[in-house]
Symmetry: C2
Subunit: 371 residues, 2 copies
């Protein structure tokens, strides 16, 4: 599709506590993520990118819907659905966890926020893990409540994030560790704030607890942020490829294992032995993966959008993988891409061919993130 | 939002076996449904409506994703998730089934297609019931496979549907009963075809088995349909309100019981006694619902779109319900709407007030479908 179509919005494509502000701020395009609106463009993808890497942005990422797991068996249930061991996880930690099905295939890659041994928030990528966790809990008779709380993350991203947040909540936030969380008072109410977010520019996520507080928090951020040139933003297609941040549903699906997408380090033996799908992962760890996620630099001028995968070909024209995300990077002055590459071709520095519609281009295999 | 924003399309907002044809046919807007593209407008919502009620349309409703439940415990698992008794369901039947959570709240309202006692396709509304069914099956240790097959429904809807389909597959299809299915040969391959679909104009759904066959089947329908003025179409916001077809996520959510939305007739005692959430439904059947879904005719000229609910008010200004879908009906020459109305106000013929942004209008409570 050369020009994007319109999006029909209804109650089903849920609005967020910030939607009115996002609309007022001039969001030009959206996607739907967890049956909720996620803005994708404000000024332009490229202008948003430059601003994100220089200043600070406020992102409505409410679509990272939460699943609250509450009760004596909470930790047991969360450990059942991920091969990452939670044994050493502390009560102020966030873990990026692969979630896998019974075949070891990736069904989500959320951030698990541990509040206590009997209370977790699972901050989702785009699939209804609420039903997976609830179905398992009911099926196994676990003593746990599983529900979607009224909690909507708001991202503060960009190099000036610390300055902006410190002006609002005090300098204590500067010492918050990566993927750690604590309570901070914003506008008279305490919120869980984590040092996290889907960019490599640094920043925070405020877990807005209570939709009614959304516009108040938004306005506080924009009032305080004026001197930092704060703008509304959103996950940026260029920056996140440069940074090697994978998008579930784009760069991996349930057809991929966590090992293939570089999360073998989060597949722990003791956890694989008890989690669903763990057996398949143990076997794959022994035999080794057949393909791996890679960064790719694609020759030539600006590539078109990549709404469906582009095949990677060897010099005989055989398929050896696929590219699933691609964009022109102004800073790297090349096309950056993320793709899955077969074993014989995945070494850094290798050259492969990529078929983009009717065109064949060369691409160089390399690491993620780009450097 | 006065003009709709653009939709950003990626691999994650899955394309369908028919997407290329739908794009070529000039779809102007889409929504995302089960993480898949669903067109919403071709010529205009009103022009599409008039055509649907007079001729025949082909609808890409691939987004009604299937969950296949396969194995000796298939029927047991499906019965576990719905209060509708499957005891008398025959192997060529489709059932509209409420699916409820542990509180009896609606989490989906799919069509269950029974192929045999050990094989069902659940044709979903917009939520990932794959994970619910799979989580329950694993948790309970049932002997059943649960997966998303490569099956994409294609709707044939409108008064000329029988004529068009008979020209392609023969007159046998004219005798196919409502919500019955059978195999029919289209272009050299047998497909399951059901007399069903999300309009009140009559028609069929072809369960396209094998994405690679999509464009072939599409082209056969359009070649044969020329004499019936066939056009591409999609679920129509006006026609489905007139017809009283509820949209999950719009007209009901997990906060509503099947009884509230008029599906008490599908809550059977013997099934409620064994299904998840059945206990809550048994209690509600005894005490009676506190609100019911209704049709409403709203006074005045054309209402704006209804992306979030409009409150219904009594003559003291107290909230007594909400409207969740509304449109101007050219045929009824009034605004037709669907909403939830509290007990003291739900009688047909009652007048209530509806708050549309800053405006108050009168509305008359009545039955669904409109007549």
């Amino acid at each position: 599709m050369s020009t994007p179509p319109f999006l029909s919005i209804s109650r089903r494509t849920r609005s967020t506590p910030f939607s009115r502000r996002v609309t007022e701020a001039g969001a030009k395009a959206y996607t739907v993520y967890n049956r909720m609106l996620l803005p994708t463009v404000f000024e332009s993808v490229e202008a948003d990118y430059h601003h994100l890497k220089k200043h600070v942005q406020v992102w409505d990422v409410s679509c990272e819907r939460q699943v609250e797991v509450l009760g004596p068996d909470a930790r047991q249930l969360v450990q059942l659905v991920t091969p990452r061991s939670l044994a050493k996880m502390q009560d102020d930690q966030c873990y990026y966890i692969p979630m896998v099905n019974d075949k070891g295939g990736m069904i989500n890659d959320p951030v698990a926020v541990k509040i206590s041994d009997d209370r977790f928030w699972i901050s989702l990528a785009d699939s209804d893990m609420l039903f997976w966790l609830k179905g398992l809990a009911i099926g196994k008779g676990l003593n746990v409540d599983v529900f979607e709380p009224d909690v909507s993350p708001l991202g503060i991203q960009g190099p000036k994030s610390d300055d902006l947040m410190a002006d609002i909540v005090g300098d204590r936030i500067r010492t918050l560790g990566f993927f750690r969380h604590a309570q901070f008072n914003i506008g008279g109410k305490d919120y869980l704030v984590a040092r996290s977010g889907w960019s490599k520019q640094g920043g925070f996520e405020i877990y807005l607890d209570g939709s009614e507080n959304g516009e108040k928090v938004w306005d506080i951020l924009f009032d305080a942020g004026e001197k930092y040139e704060v703008r509304p933003g959103c996950p940026n297609g260029i920056e996140r490829i440069e940074g090697g941040l994978l998008s579930h549903g784009n760069d991996m699906t349930e057809d991929n294992s966590p090992i293939e997408i570089g999360l073998g380090k989060y597949c722990h033996r003791e956890a694989m032995e008890i989690c669903i799908g763990g057996k398949a992962l143990i076997e794959e760890k022994i035999s080794g993966p057949k393909q791996l996620i890679r960064g790719l630099k694609i020759d030539g001028d600006r590539v078109p959008p990549c709404p469906s995968p582009w095949p990677l070909l060897d010099d005989k024209g055989q398929k050896i993988g696929q590219i699933t995300s691609a964009a022109w990077s102004p800073d790297f002055e090349t096309n950056v891409a993320i793709g899955m590459v077969a074993q014989d071709h995945w070494d850094h520095g290798n050259t492969v061919s990529v078929q983009i519609d009717d065109q064949i281009r060369k691409a160089e295999v390399g690491p993620l993130p780009f450097n």
